[in-house]
């Protein structure tokens, strides 16, 4: 009995001895490290997406002056013949005056008057882009001259920023581009319903605007340029990638050459993307003489960059088709080529498509190589329809973001984040499509 009680005092089933306690604590700690790592990753993701959404949502709302504008005939069409060729001699300056008059009228109708309001505050309220937009509208439809039309006029980026909380009366004191009086006027106009904030469709369709006019900048050309490049990538990298994978996976003999090709492809997949940009600059622009900042060059560079990704995923999809399928086809007399093209390839198709979409998504977000082939250029003209449009200068979504981060006006930060939101929406759609295809068609053998 004494022996047993002694023994029990040393090792009890109910009391944990110090060593076990230490080991259990270490276990708990280790587990907590793992959970912390996951948490950090998730928090980083939430922070990243959260700040972009917070900063970028403003780009989708825009402040406009919604007021009647009298398009006076003597100012806009001095000859009075409504001939667009004659009218195009009238510069945007005249349209600016027309807008100023309309704003004066709107301010005169207000009940409250703001003290210390200067002439500059009044004219500065309207965006510099607004007169050009009004001019385009009148030139497209000369009959408008002489009438009074309701227009939505862009306001200056500072006023827009005031309604989005980026500019305050305190910061306006120190800002040469705006003044507290101007902001008070904006408040009064907003109360009157002249100044309204609504959804900014122009952000998605407009071209880029110059450094002074963040309120007019849009991603229209960038979306189009990205789309053109994706078309080039799709039409080049999918056939080439699938053909190369079929050869390497199904036909290639085991020899020196195929070994070199395989090592090559896995290395190409890890070459920094900027090196592909250097390749594009040296080969496609300097050597082949293709135009700078054209989607065709961007598309070619991105094709070379995504090919390894597509080849690797296509080979995985081909490998996943069980050999019994090939054997069955060969057994009923099909040639090797027939067994691949009639049986293996169709079965591998869902996997190939998933890999292709993910490769395209990677290409869509790629920036660095495009910087080197001149896609950073300031482009105001929309490219033509393909195929000629592939050679016109264009921008691309991620490059547009980079471009805007290099501008001095803080309003462009909002635009850059807004462009990223659009980019992320595209990427999300592509990834969802890939997941859908995988779920719907993937077969487990």
């Amino acid at each position: 009995m004494t022996d047993m009680s002694n023994h029990a005092s040393r090792i009890s089933l109910f009391e944990v001895d110090p060593r076990t306690r230490r080991r259990n604590a270490a276990e708990k700690r280790f587990r907590a490290y793992g959970a912390t790592a996951i948490c950090i990753a998730v928090i980083a993701l939430v922070l990243l997406v959260g700040t972009i959404l917070r900063d970028g949502s403003g780009a989708f709302r825009q402040t406009y002056l919604s007021m009647p504008v009298a398009l006076s005939a003597e100012k806009l069409d001095p000859k009075g013949n409504r001939d667009p060729a004659e009218m195009s001699k009238v510069l945007t300056l005249a349209y600016g005056r027309v807008l100023d008059d309309a704003l004066d009228a709107a301010v005169a109708q207000m009940d409250t008057q703001i003290e210390g309001l200067s002439e500059k505050d009044m004219t500065g309220l309207v965006s510099k882009e607004a007169s050009a937009q009004l001019r385009d509208r009148v030139l497209a439809d000369p009959e408008l001259v002489g009438q009074t039309v309701d227009v939505n006029v862009l306001v200056n980026g500072r006023i827009d920023g005031y309604f989005k909380g980026r500019v305050s009366k305190e910061s306006a004191e120190r800002d040469s581009n705006t003044s507290p009086q101007q902001l008070m006027l904006a408040d009064a106009l907003a109360e009157d319903g002249v100044l309204v904030t609504r959804f900014n469709r122009e952000f998605i369709t407009n071209p880029d605007a110059s450094d002074q006019r963040p309120e007019a900048a849009g991603v229209g050309i960038a979306i189009l340029g990205s789309l053109y490049m994706m078309l080039v990538v799709l039409f080049l990298s999918v056939p080439i990638g699938v053909a190369a994978s079929i050869y390497l996976e199904e036909f290639a003999p085991k020899n020196r050459l195929t070994d070199i090709i395989e090592v090559n492809i896995s290395n190409l997949a890890a070459v920094p993307s900027i090196v592909f940009g250097i390749l594009g600059l040296a080969v496609f622009i300097n050597f082949a003489g293709l135009p700078q900042s054209a989607p065709i060059v961007g598309g070619l560079v991105l094709t070379l960059m995504t090919l390894p990704t597509i080849i690797i995923s296509t080979r995985a999809a081909l490998k996943a088709v069980p050999p019994s399928i090939r054997d069955a086809a060969l057994g009923v007399g099909a040639s090797k080529m027939q067994s691949v093209f009639h049986h293996v390839l169709p079965l591998a198709m869902p996997g190939i498509m998933t890999g292709t979409i993910l490769g395209l998504a990677q290409a869509l977000g790629e920036t660095a190589p495009l910087l080197l082939i001149g896609m950073v250029a300031f482009v105001r003209e929309f490219p033509a329809a393909p195929p000629e449009g592939l050679f016109d200068p264009a921008s691309a979504l991620p490059v547009q973001v980079y471009n805007w981060t290099q501008r001095s006006d803080p309003a462009f930060v909002e635009r850059a984040s807004g462009a990223i939101i659009i980019l992320l929406i595209f990427l999300l759609c592509m990834n969802l499509l890939a997941i859908f295809l995988r779920r719907k068609f993937e077969r487990r053998w």
Binding site: A41, L279, L372
Partner: protein, 401 residues
Amino acid sequence: MPLSWALIASLLLAVAGYLIGRNRALGAAGPDVRMLHSRPTYHGVSVALTTFGPAAVIVVLALLLRMTGQIDPTTGGVAGLAVLGGAILGLGWGISRIGADFQARSAVERMVMSVLIICSLIAIATTVGIVLSLIFETGSFFQKYSWHEFFFGLEWTPRFDGNSRLGMLPLLWGTLYISFIALVVAVPIGLFAAIYLSEYASPRIRSFAKPMVELLAGIPTIVYGLFALITVGPMLRDWIAQPLGLGNSASSVLTAGLVMGIMLIPFVSSLSDDIINAVPQSLRDAALGLGSTPSETVRQVVLPAALPGIVGAVLLAASRAIGETMIVVLGAGAAATMSLNPLEAMTTITVKIVSQLTGDNDFSSPETLVAFALGLTLFVITLCLNIVALIIVRKYREQYE
């Protein structure tokens, strides 16, 4: 553009060739189609391929000649005629081959096979193109600037009036420093995340956390760059750098390193996840059976077994970090300094490649050409890292297969 018209015309000829070939084959077979060696479709396709093949080859040749300036771009008409001529000759030859004994299927398969081989050679052509374009321009750079000053120079001050000092070491230092910080962030977090996901997490947590971590991998680097520029950079400056008096620049080594580390987390974690899962379950079972706790199993059995693979993964991540561009362009700054202070702005090889090659380039000045030498350096460094990593990972995989 006559060349494109000629190409479209030869496509139409190829379609016509398909129909003619198919009909001729059926005619040659007589009443019994089984007399043919191949199915009629193959005869048609063989004619179509012999029609379009020469035309496509001539188009490519014409484009190449045009690019190298051997022929004048205005002589597109001649090239177009040559394309059309090639197509017609091919059509005639293809049709003449048709007969009951013609082995059309083997002919088609040979042609398809050569297309497949050409496509897989494009990967090699890309590498050759990269290497040649880098070496060629680097060569002309070293004719204008001495190579030892480039490799061992401690000062980077490009000037457009000549007299530039183009020493690479400050850029290399910035690159390695930022990559080091990125790895210090990414490797522990990525590794622990992988361990937790593969050894501890319940299926429910796993199904939620794994896609979240993978989402980080799908986000383009420009987004990380913007995050560094407008969120992380100012935060580090206001909370750490200025209170401690270590600097007052929003772009710094730490900013770029931290954000790049976040970018690399999914990369490290998914690679290590694969590697940890490749460790045979029997090793774990044996360790647990002897009474070790799960964490002891991981630390003393799984991790040592997976170590070579993890080292490979870390090397791959390092090569990623060294070649990363947008995060450092937006987050690290442009000052080529060599200092130990992580809150100071420094610059990297990739940043300087971008800044020397954007805008108007003069390809005879060393200030532009230096970008190619930097590119070659970058290419060689990442290539070495990748090759070593791939060898390690491959060796390790064989060990347990």
